[in-house]
């Protein structure tokens, strides 16, 4: 077995620390999460997409971590030669894996927003066609009711589950703080909704992850100082990291700095740069992103979609640009 693709940040951490030792946090068929002090590392089978602080293992047969007998609390050691599971005598060589950069901001130079309006319509149609809207999709109905100018009505669902009514008001308040770029309130408002939903990455967290990633992209496009964007994003999650799962906490931290998985990155690039009248890459990337988790992929894309809608609205954009006409 060997690592075929590795996140640059993980490679950097291994090279810096020389040895990283951690324990298995959680195991699934296609993924294994390892806690190693401040690092949270994910090993993935070749059927999964690369994400921040993760590495993809290739082997003759697709890896199944459960079938390998890996369990919670087993030890893993990371060195520049390879990765060892000490209890199971498993060795994964590091060799010369392809490095992958998780930072969306590095891809922003090639972006062009001229096709954005048409592409947003396509993204919306794609969400309605392929999206699993039973997560955050349910809250879009409330958001549209409150913010008609965002024109989210096509994402309306007739039946919203009772549970979502519980956070309806807090969600709207949170969105208002996002729209106003309210540094004083955003942390408190976010803390009232982060952690809501089933799954290792609750649906609200996935949505916020998408929103923060788009803040990084679009902030750069419109010349907002990156420190301001990072400042807002990190403030957003500052009171919430203990209120959600470890996996989600890591995801939110990465997203606050514009780091995301390859499917989401490809999708954002396509929405922001491709003439999708000529190419159908966006639809392919959308399907890849939607298939991440159960509703996680869709919830993240909804965050991206709503974020893009906000940045495309000149009134909303003023809050970032301090009333500078753009």
């Amino acid at each position: 077995m060997e690592i075929s693709i590795i996140c640059e940040n993980l490679m950097k951490a291994i090279n810096q620390e020389k040895i990283i030792i951690g324990k298995v946090h959680s195991v699934f068929s296609n993924a294994c999460n390892i806690e190693a002090g401040s690092y949270f590392i994910t090993l993935l089978s070749s059927s999964k997409i690369i994400s921040p602080m993760s590495a993809i293992i290739s082997a003759k047969k697709t890896i199944n971590f459960k079938e390998l007998g890996i369990e919670q609390n087993m030890s893993f050691k990371f060195t520049s030669e390879g990765i060892y599971c000490l209890e199971k005598d498993i060795y994964i060589s590091l060799g010369a894996p392809m490095p992958w950069c998780p930072n969306i901001i590095n891809k922003c130079n090639d972006m062009y927003t001229g096709y954005l309006e048409g592409n947003l319509n396509k993204l919306e149609a794609g969400l309605m066609t392929y999206g699993k809207l039973q997560g955050m999709g349910q809250l879009m109905t409330f958001l549209d009711n409150d913010k008609r100018e965002m024109k989210l009505y096509r994402l309306w669902l007739n039946n919203v589950e009772d549970n979502f009514y519980y956070i309806k008001n807090e969600f709207i308040c949170f969105m208002e703080s996002v729209i106003k770029v309210d540094m004083t309130q955003i942390a408190v408002k976010a803390s009232k909704i982060i952690g809501f939903g089933i799954g290792l990455t609750p649906c609200v967290d996935d949505f916020i992850s998408g929103l923060m990633t788009i803040n990084v992209c679009m902030g750069k496009q419109y010349g907002v100082p990156i420190t301001k964007i990072y400042g807002f994003n990190t403030e957003l999650i500052s009171l919430s990291t203990s209120r959600t799962t470890r996996v989600s906490c890591e995801m939110l931290k990465h997203s606050s700095l514009g780091r995301t998985n390859s499917a989401v990155m490809n999708l954002i690039q396509a929405v922001l740069s491709e003439n999708t009248e000529k190419n159908d890459n966006m639809e392919k990337f959308l399907k890849d992103a939607v298939n991440y988790g159960e509703t996680s992929g869709t919830d993240t894309i909804l965050g991206i979609y709503v974020g893009l809608k906000m940045w495309a609205n000149s009134n909303y954009r003023r809050a970032w640009l301090n009333d500078t006409v753009c």
Partner: protein, 521 residues
């Protein structure tokens, strides 16, 4: 509320499994509420809000998994059953493992399902035509459920299909039964020797259901989409479907169903009748009887009549118009008298709230023949178009499945929310006497059409009663004993609530007609 709580500390499950657990536990009998998830602060707050919390749940960390279910009654077995079900679902192999492959494109689906010979396509109209072309170029017949496909695209696709010897059923085709397999909205009907080509969804469903009730069966049911018989499209698929049934050795009787076609299209179709010895029953709903019979086909006065004639031809018995009631005249008169006595003097109007468009159309035509002026969102004449489709006036018949009511929303046969919201408004009108409703069963339809409407029917009747009035509710269940919704239970639910059920749409309309005549006499 009684609780069942299961906590698993420091335990993680993938979200696919958790979503499945949530859905399945909710369906279990006696479960009122359920929350499944990790012990994040919000999830714990939600549990408290739902009265599902306890000290154990409050002490959870975000890395702990929990399920809390609220039960109707206290029973050890209920809790044990829930936990057993959770474990079954979590341990089931139904996840994103390699053994379950979900193709993400037509190309990969064709590779994966090598023996498939049909594609059912339901995409936003803007994207549908391209996918249909791909399917046809891969040798697949197509059923196209999508609407909002342009006429030009429809013509191009149907010509392509015709040239390749493939069916293009649609766009906007909701009903088909091919080789015994029901597609989209379709009922479970007996297999037999009656073949149908239909340009209308619920019209086709009505005919198949009547055939089944009369002991007949269907060989094939081919849909064409609602626009096929307009002059631009020229009836391409009606003709291809007709040809296919003529050539099909298992089909002995052919039924053609549509709203009145364009004249030249009707001629083309009726000319083909002469090319076959198989008897052909033609229901161009409200169409030209003389023209149909002049070409050697059997004309019909209703969808039910089409079913009757088809079965008679299949059995070799005599064919005649069916325009009466299954019940005796005495029984019908007794129903009419009994209902009429309960009305207040001011009550005189009918409000028909349909989920099936063709059934609504048939109702208006039958009532129209008796001189009633029926307002509608799909009126027979422009002067009867409702100014505000959300507000009925005088006699009104609404097709709740029309585009105006379904933009961005599911069809009312799937989700009855449109009718649920409309019924109380009608019951507030002091001049309303009769509500007429259809309940369409079968695949694709709501799991419990009668049950969904029941509380609102009861409420509407009570509302009227509280104002010293009476609301007569007449219904028709378009379904068979084989349908998944349990036909008998559906009937029982409605009859127990005082709904008068009739055995066909036409008979339900005729009963309304008799009642209106009685009220106004």
């Amino acid at each position: 509320m009684i609780q069942c709580v299961e906590i698993r500390k420091n335990t993680y499950y993938d979200s696919v499994a958790l979503m499945l657990v949530t859905k399945e536990i909710k369906k279990m009998p006696l479960v009122r509420d359920v929350i499944v998830g990790m012990g994040t602060e919000l999830n714990k707050e939600l549990a408290e809000n739902l009265n599902l919390s306890n000290d154990q749940i409050k002490a959870l960390t975000p890395n702990d998994f929990f399920i809390a279910a609220g039960l109707e009654t206290e029973n050890e077995n209920n809790s044990a059953d829930i936990i057993k079900k959770v474990d079954e679902l979590i341990n089931s192999k139904k996840n994103d493992s390699k053994s379950e492959y979900n193709p993400t494109s037509l190309k990969s689906a064709v590779k994966y399902a090598e023996n498939a010979n049909m594609a059912v396509i339901s995409l936003p109209g803007k994207y549908a035509a391209d996918e249909v072309k791909k399917a046809l170029n891969n040798g697949l017949h197509v059923m196209l459920f999508s609407d909002n496909v342009s006429v030009e695209e429809e013509i191009e696709l149907k010509k392509l299909g015709r040239d390749k010897g493939l069916l293009v059923m649609g766009p906007d085709c909701g009903t088909a039964i091919i080789n015994g397999v029901p597609l989209c909205f379709a009922n479970v009907v007996r297999k037999g020797d009656i073949g149908i080509v239909g340009a209308s969804g619920t019209g086709t469903q009505e005919v198949t259901v009547i055939i089944d009730k009369l002991g007949g069966g269907v060989s094939q049911v081919i849909g064409t989409g609602g626009r096929d018989l307009k002059s631009e499209v020229g009836g391409i698929m009606m003709l291809e479907g007709f040809k296919a049934l003529i050539d099909d050795p298992e089909t002995k009787v052919i039924v053609l169903i549509s709203k009145p076609p364009a004249r030249e299209v009707a001629e083309k179709i009726l000319n083909m009748v002469k090319t076959t010895k198989k008897p052909v029953v033609v229901n161009f709903i409200g169409g030209d009887r003389a023209q149909i019979e002049g070409n050697g086909a059997y004309a019909c006065i209703s969808l039910e009549d089409a079913g009757h004639k088809a079965v008679a031809l299949s059995k070799g018995t005599s064919v005649s118009d069916f325009d009466g009631f299954v019940q005796s005249e005495e029984e019908i008169n007794s129903i009419v008298e009994s209902e009429a006595l309960k009305f207040d003097k001011a009550q005189k109007y009918l409000r028909a709230l349909y989920t099936g468009g063709t059934l609504a159309d048939e109702a208006m035509k039958l009532l129209g023949r008796s001189g009633y002026e029926i307002f509608s969102n799909i009126p027979l004449s422009p002067e009867f178009k409702l100014k505000d489709i959300h507000k009925s006036i005088k006699h009104t018949c609404i097709d709740l499945g029309d585009d105006d009511f379904t933009l961005g929303k599911p069809h009312p046969m799937i989700d009855p929310i449109g009718r649920i919201e409309r019924l109380p408004k009608e019951a507030m009108d002091d001049e309303v006497a009769i509500i007429l409703m259809d309940f369409v069963l079968g695949f694709g339809s709501n799991d419990d059409p009668a049950g969904e409407m029941l509380p609102y029917i009861i409420e509407a009747k009570k509302n009227m009663e509280s104002r010293g009035k009476y609301l007569s509710v007449i219904g028709y269940i378009c379904g068979t004993e084989g349908d998944p919704q349990n036909y008998r239970q559906q009937c029982e639910k409605l009859e127990n609530a005082g709904v008068i059920l009739m055995p066909s749409n036409a008979q339900a309309v005729r009963l309304c007609e008799k009642l209106l005549k009685r009220i106004n006499s």
